[in-house]
Subunit: 384 residues, 2 copies
């Protein structure tokens, strides 16, 4: 297996992009990444997308997007693992280069979510849950994460205010990210008094519906050195599944797939979790970030709420989590999120993160999750 | 890259399986493959599925199917390239084993298409075309292939009867396949007088709407030898894209993605097309098989119609095409088709194809195609 490096990344402003189609959003982003990398050739491409069928009535993104980029007959694949689709695309691209199958690989993620009504979007997102055993009974994603939140509060004493502090932190970070969908700050008071979605989760506990894409160019690390590009090495990659339905879980408050995927990625990188300087994690709801910090081993079980309250995961804390603003403030175009996490870490490790730069960042971890943790993909990045 | 072999395959009877869910169909098939392989462990799984979102309101098949098989936390990925999704899953599984990333990999394909109305199925299948530039204007797949058929007839003199002879041949083969959806013979007269769908294509020119799955177990060839299993080696794998919209093609009668993918697969295997003893190809419509035989190089451009009329592609001909009955008679659960092609070739090379056995078959080629050829995946198989 060859060492693999990212030599270019691309992302445009996320939001409700009603004047752009899925293909336009993706193509603009991919061209930015190619430009950043300084290459005009790709050997293969992988695209993460969760549900372009339900959101825009378009499957076959492999052909659509290779064509839109003018890159046919290049081999192209769309991969899907719900909201972890972007992370999965990154992993498949990583393996494509590591195995020697291809030299220059474009990895992208995309989702166009605002062309449908809110009800239709809620249904489409619900297809990440068990449709027959959860969706059929009326459960939506806020409902599922609300049950996880209630269980966490009940067992560990996690408070309503601690949940809110995740949103406050991530919006503070996001206010420094010009590409974020919601680049503004919020207060605990605003969060706890915002519209109730699924008790105890309020609208400001939830990540938004977003149109957006992200892209990265992967090459063998040796080629990156030859090109004298500021490269970021993908030092580890881990992927795991868990039961899709919450009712089959042993413990509603624990994300086993994240725990397993992180252990694999860290083992591949030969690192410990405390070696990481920053983290981009899957805060689709405030409770999710709290549970992820526990599953990654940043804090003990049940201590995720206290950790955010004590500033451990703040931009200036010991373990900065979601300096980009996270899904919460940056937005959450589901198939793009996993790739955007990599984009942020690459920018941070290259020292190009502007007002949200984490000082002397050398290593970062990205954790991307499907459904309520039915799948997770974790990557470790190191400045080369 | 390590040599990779298939040591087990599974498929159940295809058809309108109203009493079974997508998860049941897939799981039954995967268990057959595991049983055939004689293994009780998998290290990773890849599932091809085109549009479970639109057909059954369920994405996140990675988690759903790993869970249903009781295999969490095994890494699982769903891949999609329209009707070439199964072939793409096989390719990703092949690369996973070849690269040394995993030893025992389950590759599956599945589609549950009959839980929706005919109109909804037509829409879902249409998402393999360019939704904005083809679907929006009312084009469906029979319409797109009808245009290709008209162009082929116009340029090369291909006849209505030659189209029908593809259906006659494949139903004759399919009548010997107990797992086929439509295991009966048809006549030229029946085809040319069947209901008109999109001129010149009639209902008996079209592959059906099908529920079904197929699965295979891949391991390093060296492990297969140690296990003393009757193994079939995957000697080559090629993948390519083409423009998604027909309007962007230089030539409506030529399948460039199939041509490129086949050349790559043959080069990897170190073989020529005439070294192959049998072919499973993507006859989603009768005209498709004719064009595929040309793109593969079995016959010269424009000679595909004459070839079927002269018996070249018959079971006892020089180049037997679709001994399984093809998509036409066996059925076409779109995400499963590419894996089912591998299942048939493995059975043929193991000498287990019963009444449809091709004598002394040692090498076979599978060609799986998305949309109107916007993507193609080709694999070469050899008895080990």
């Amino acid at each position: 297996m060859r060492d693999v490096a990212i030599i270019g990344v691309g992302m445009t402003k996320w939001g409700e992009l009603w004047d752009k189609s899925l293909r336009t959003i993706f193509t603009e982003t991919a061209l930015l990444a190619l430009d950043d990398a300084g290459v005009d050739r790709i050997d293969a491409m992988f695209v993460g997308c969760m549900s372009s069928g339900l959101f825009v009535g378009q499957e076959h993104l492999s052909s659509l997007l290779a064509d839109a980029l003018g890159r046919t007959p290049v081999p192209a694949a769309r991969v899907e693992s719900a909201c972890a689709s972007g992370g999965l695309a990154l992993r498949q691209g990583f393996l494509e280069v590591a195995s020697g199958q291809s030299d220059i690989v474009l990895v992208g993620g995309v989702e166009k979510m605002t062309d449908v009504t809110g009800c239709e979007a809620t249904f489409a997102l619900g297809t990440a849950a068990d449709q027959e055993y959860e969706g059929y009974h009326g459960l939506t994603f806020p409902g599922l994460y609300a049950m996880m939140a209630v269980a966490h509060m009940h067992r560990y004493g996690t408070t309503r205010e601690q949940l809110a502090l995740v949103a406050v932190k991530n919006h503070d970070n996001g206010s420094r990210n010009p590409l974020a969908q919601f680049p503004f700050k919020v207060t605990v008071d605003a969060v706890v008094n915002s519209v109730l979605v699924a008790d105890p989760l309020r609208i400001l506990d939830c990540s938004p519906i977003t149109d957006g894409a992200a892209a990265a160019i992967l090459v063998p690390a040796e080629m990156a050195r030859r090109m004298k590009k500021p490269a970021v090495r993908i030092a580890g990659s881990g992927q795991a599944t868990d039961t899709i339905a919450l009712s089959s879980r042993r413990d509603l408050t624990w994300l086993e797939s994240t725990h397993v995927a992180a252990a694999k990625a860290l083992a591949m990188a030969g690192r410990k979790i405390e070696d990481m300087d920053l983290f981009e994690v899957h805060d689709c709801f405030t409770i999710a970030e709290i549970m992820v910090t526990e599953a990654l081993g940043l804090v003990d079980r049940g201590q995720g709420g206290r950790a955010v309250a004590e500033g451990l995961t703040a931009r200036g804390g010991r373990f900065p989590v979601n300096p980009s603003g996270g899904l919460k403030a940056k937005g959450h175009p589901v198939g793009a999120t996993g790739v955007a996490q990599a984009v942020e870490i690459v920018k941070q490790l290259r020292g190009e993160a502007g007002e949200r730069q984490i000082k002397s960042a050398k290593r970062g971890l990205a954790q991307n999750m499907g459904g309520t943790g039915g799948s997770s993909v974790v990557h470790i990045f190191e400045a080369d």
